[in-house]
């Protein structure tokens, strides 16, 4: 495990965030982060195998008496939705000081931890040019360790295909849930199709765009040969104030288009520079109830 990334301080922050989350969502039951049908009688929908950590009250004791096996009842509005952490691990995520990937990993770890604390199943997958290795969705405290271990091994490499990767994930995953996509969205035209594919598969999506300060507001370069971190292509350009102003304008327009798409698509969108402490972003996430809206 990356003991530098997930140090004691980080873990302490996670605890703090979980307390904040509990205060925010006090009185809600497991897996039901604000039911859209409050006050309505839950209709029995199905059984599933008992898993450690499930609420004892949902165990169907009748089946246990008959079959000597533990099953839990599933109700209509209570879907067993997992939290899918999709982390962009392309080479562009390795850019920045600290690298954007570190920020994304901390973010994913924090959000995953909170979800696990809320007794949700949490899985994680990385993607670059295509889908990378994944962590199977599981509940319980043990999953926290697995999640941190998984994230600590992630490195930034390869090109980016948000579009293709998300479409692949949408096709592969049988049970939709809350998809938290953490990416810089750079160098990946057509990323909207990937997000749309997830929506089609009935995923609730939170899109978190992570950018380095150098990308948001580049410093004066002068005569420069810019080299793409992913593709290695170069571009000769005298970076002066007018060019930087045009760049910032272009970037603002891009962000605007992302916001507009997310608004139209019902995708919760968060954007942050790596200078923003990740816990602040998580708190914003919690206060906005992003995950609540996504579950509606």
């Amino acid at each position: 495990m990356d003991r530098v990334l997930f140090d004691r301080e980080f873990l302490a922050k996670l605890e703090h965030l979980s307390l904040v989350a509990r205060r925010l969502y006090r009185g809600e039951t497991r897996g039901a982060h604000g039911s859209p049908m409050r006050g309505a009688s839950p209709d029995f929908a199905d059984h599933r195998d008992y898993q450690p950590g499930d609420d004892f009250r949902t165990i169907d004791w009748n089946i246990y008496a008959r079959l000597d096996r533990l099953f839990v009842k599933l109700f209509a509005e209570e879907e067993d939705l997992g939290v899918h952490l999709l982390v962009d691990a392309s080479a562009s995520m390795g850019f920045g000081t600290p690298p954007k990937l570190d920020y994304a990993r901390k973010l994913a770890a924090a959000l995953g931890y909170l979800a696990l604390h809320s007794l949700d199943r949490v899985g994680a997958t990385t993607f670059a040019a295509g889908l990378g290795g994944s962590l199977s969705p599981r509940r319980g405290r043990a999953q926290v360790f697995h999640l941190l271990e998984y994230l600590s091994r992630v490195t930034a490499a390869g090109g980016t295909s948000v579009d293709g990767s998300l479409q692949d994930y949408a096709l592969r995953t049988r049970s939709p849930g809350l998809a938290i996509v953490i990416s810089d969205l750079l160098g990946s035209p057509g990323w909207e199709r990937g997000v749309a594919a997830l929506r089609y598969r009935r995923f609730d999506i939170v899109l978190i765009q992570v950018l380095d300060q150098e990308e948001i507001s580049p410093a004066g370069f002068g005569p420069s040969r810019l080299r793409d971190a992913e593709t290695g292509r170069t571009l000769r350009l005298v970076v002066d104030e007018p060019v930087l102003a045009a760049y910032r304008e272009r970037l603002a327009a891009f962000h605007g288009s992302v916001e507009e798409f997310c608004l139209r698509s019902g995708v919760e969108y968060l954007r942050a520079g790596t200078l923003v402490p990740f816990e602040d972003l998580v708190l914003r996430y919690l206060r906005q109830g992003a995950h609540l809206h996504a579950r509606r």
Binding site: F95, Q213, L226, R227, L237, E241, L275
Partner: protein
């Protein structure tokens, strides 16, 4: 365009350095970015402005190169050539009136040509243009101040003529350059025969003076020196030097006469452009006027004769008052013209009247009476009524500083003089202290119209000065200062153009002077001295007052004026008439140098504005500073976290 300091053009080697620095500044640095996507999008939208920016960078480099080149050219002091004859505002015409300008060729003198050229300049004066005319002889003289009155200018030019004196062109041109008024364009035109070595600080390449050369090569021979000196055997020796200019050797007949008597006749051979000297025992009279003449018919007559006057030593009645001092008495009495009378004291009341009977009163200590007029030499004594106030007695003063250029102290070595005690005085207004110790003045003078005082703070007997060579020299200098000419007993001669100081006995306030041309003029006499400046004509000048008459002899005797060949680089640049121009008439236009005007200011200003332009071009392209960037970053971070 020519350059006054062409070596400065070496600095043009800085131009490649500027290009190199520009290249380094424009060095492409490689930077990694996460993605080129947005940068490429940005570029697509900026194609035109990027082309303009590339152009601006090239223009900035061009401005830098031109600025360096312009400043370097300015440092090389460029001189822009303006076609001759083109009037430009005011004009200062400097007419060379030195003796060589009187040289004639083909019946026309060089000065006649110069006069014609000056009149042509007057005729060519533009509207509202003014002209000033300066005569350049031994000293510059303004013949006509700045005026646009052409008639007045013509009169001034017509009334000018060449003098018999040697010229001083540098001083005259600098004087003319100083006449130009600020805020008005003015050119200086020097009309000359170029018979001088160089123009030094007034060189046309430095000052833009336009030189108009007149005259051509002329054969000439002239007397460049004549003097008489006493031999050890008591006789008199004559020395005459003759120079010739031109390309021919010749034999020059020399005749020296005293009055109507020819004393010496000799044929003197002289090589081409050479000199010859004659040194013979003088067998003529040692009184009266002497004339040396070479009997040649050449271009310049002024140098064909030299003049001298044998004058008897002037008598000077000197009254010595005070304690006996054998050294002082001996120093005064050794001069043949001095008649020395010694007394112990004079009447403090009626002493002034007694002193008037003498040419000089010398007080060796004591209490001098009040003196109203005359000449006083006071050793450790101050006559009442003078702006010298005795204060105390100083023991052991030493000479720490003295005016070595003052005629009283010329050739004196005063430093080693040991003084036992001296009278310390406070010098009042008008007193000129010419030697001093740390404690007090040691030698001072004071003059007014009819009274001259020389104060020495110590008595000769209270010092070792009488034992030194400086003492008789001091006494001789003092006598000559009080009464110029008192020491001369041999033939005297002066150079034309010089000021001659003549001691006039009695209390005459003016003297009548008759020049070589017979014209008479009245000159003021102050403190018994006539400062005579009317020596522009060679020959004998007679000075007369009541009971006094003296001849002075004034000669050209200048080798530079005798050599009539154009020698200055300025006249060469003007293309002074070359071979075959002898006999040129006034109808032929004198050659002149093209007018050159300093243009360094133009290039310096151009360089300055090019630097400003380059700065503006770079400011437009300059990448933002780090501080500005940090501010932008903080702003964007705040926006993203809100």
């Amino acid at each position: 365009m020519t350059f006054a300091a062409p070596l400065a053009l070496i600095a043009l080697l800085l131009v490649p350095v500027v290009v190199l620095l520009h290249t380094i500044a424009a060095r492409w640095r490689t930077r990694e970015v996460s993605s080129l996507a947005h940068w490429e999008e940005t570029l697509r939208g900026m194609r035109t402005s990027l082309r303009i920016r590339r152009l601006l960078r090239s223009l900035a480099l061009l401005a830098a190169v031109l600025a360096v080149a312009s400043l370097v050219v300015g440092l090389a002091r460029p001189l822009l050539q303006r076609p001759p004859g083109e009037p430009a505002g005011d004009t200062v015409v400097v007419l060379d009136v030195s003796a060589s300008m009187a040289a004639r060729s083909g019946g026309v003198s060089r000065f006649d040509e110069a006069r014609e050229e000056a009149l042509r300049l007057v005729a060519g004066l533009g509207r509202n243009a003014r002209m000033c005319v300066v005569a350049a002889g031994s000293t510059p003289r303004v013949l006509a101040p700045f005026t646009d009155d052409r008639d007045a200018l013509r009169r001034a030019i017509a009334g000018a003529s060449a003098a018999d004196e040697a010229g001083e062109p540098v001083g005259s041109l600098l004087f003319a350059l100083g006449l130009r008024e600020p805020g008005r364009t003015a050119r200086v035109v020097f009309i000359t025969d170029g018979a001088f070595t160089g123009l030094g600080d007034a060189d046309p390449d430095l000052t833009g003076v336009r030189v108009v050369a007149v005259g051509g090569p002329v054969e000439n021979a002239g007397i460049t020196a004549m003097s008489f000196r006493r031999t050890a055997a008591g006789g008199v020796e004559l020395f005459v030097s003759i120079a010739a200019s031109g390309g021919m050797s010749r034999v020059v007949p020399l005749v020296v006469s005293a009055g109507s008597r020819t004393v010496l006749r000799r044929e003197v051979p002289i090589g081409a452009g050479g000199t010859a000297s004659v040194s013979v025992p003088w067998e003529g009279p040692t009184a009266g006027r002497i004339v040396a003449r070479i009997e040649v018919d050449d271009g310049l007559a002024a140098d064909d004769a030299a003049y001298a006057v044998f004058a008897p030593a002037r008598r000077m009645r000197v009254l010595l008052v005070g304690e006996p001092d054998a050294f002082l008495e001996a120093a005064l009495a050794r001069f043949p013209g001095v008649v020395l009378v010694r007394v112990e004291a004079v009447d403090p009341v009626g002493g002034a009247r007694q002193l008037e009977r003498y040419d000089l009163a010398v007080f060796n200590g004591g209490d001098p009476p009040p003196v109203e007029r005359g000449n006083v030499l006071a050793f450790a004594a101050v006559p009442p009524g003078l702006p010298l106030e005795p204060r105390a007695v100083v023991v052991g003063p030493r000479f720490v500083s003295w005016d070595r250029s003052h005629p009283l102290l010329a050739s004196l070595a005063l430093g080693p003089v040991v003084i036992e005690r001296a009278l310390a005085v406070a010098a009042g207004p008008g007193v000129q202290v010419i030697a001093r110790s740390r404690e007090a003045p040691l030698v001072a003078t004071w003059e007014r119209a009819d009274l001259r005082v020389l104060f020495v703070a110590f008595r000769p007997s209270q010092s070792d000065l009488p034992l030194r060579a400086a003492f008789p020299l001091l006494v001789a200098n003092a006598l000559a200062w009080f009464r110029p000419g008192v020491l001369g007993a041999d033939a005297t001669a002066y150079r034309t153009g010089r000021t001659v100081e003549i001691g006039v006995p009695g209390d005459a306030s003016e003297a009548r002077v008759e020049g070589p041309d017979g014209r008479e003029a009245t000159w003021p006499v102050r403190s018994g001295v006539l400062a005579y400046t009317g020596t522009s004509r060679a020959g004998f000048h007679r000075i007369e007052t009541v009971g006094f008459a003296q001849d002075i002899a004034v000669s050209l005797c200048d080798a530079s004026e005798t050599d009539l060949s154009p020698r200055s680089a300025a006249s060469a640049a003007a293309g002074g008439a070359g071979e075959g121009a002898a006999g040129a008439t006034s109808a032929d236009r004198p050659s002149e140098s093209p007018q050159r005007e300093p243009a360094w200011l133009v290039f310096a200003l151009a360089g300055f504005w090019l630097i400003v332009a380059e700065g503006l071009l770079w400011a437009v392209q300059r990448p933002p500073g780090a501080a500005a960037t940090r501010g932008a970053r903080r702003g964007s971070a705040a926006r993203d976290s809100s």
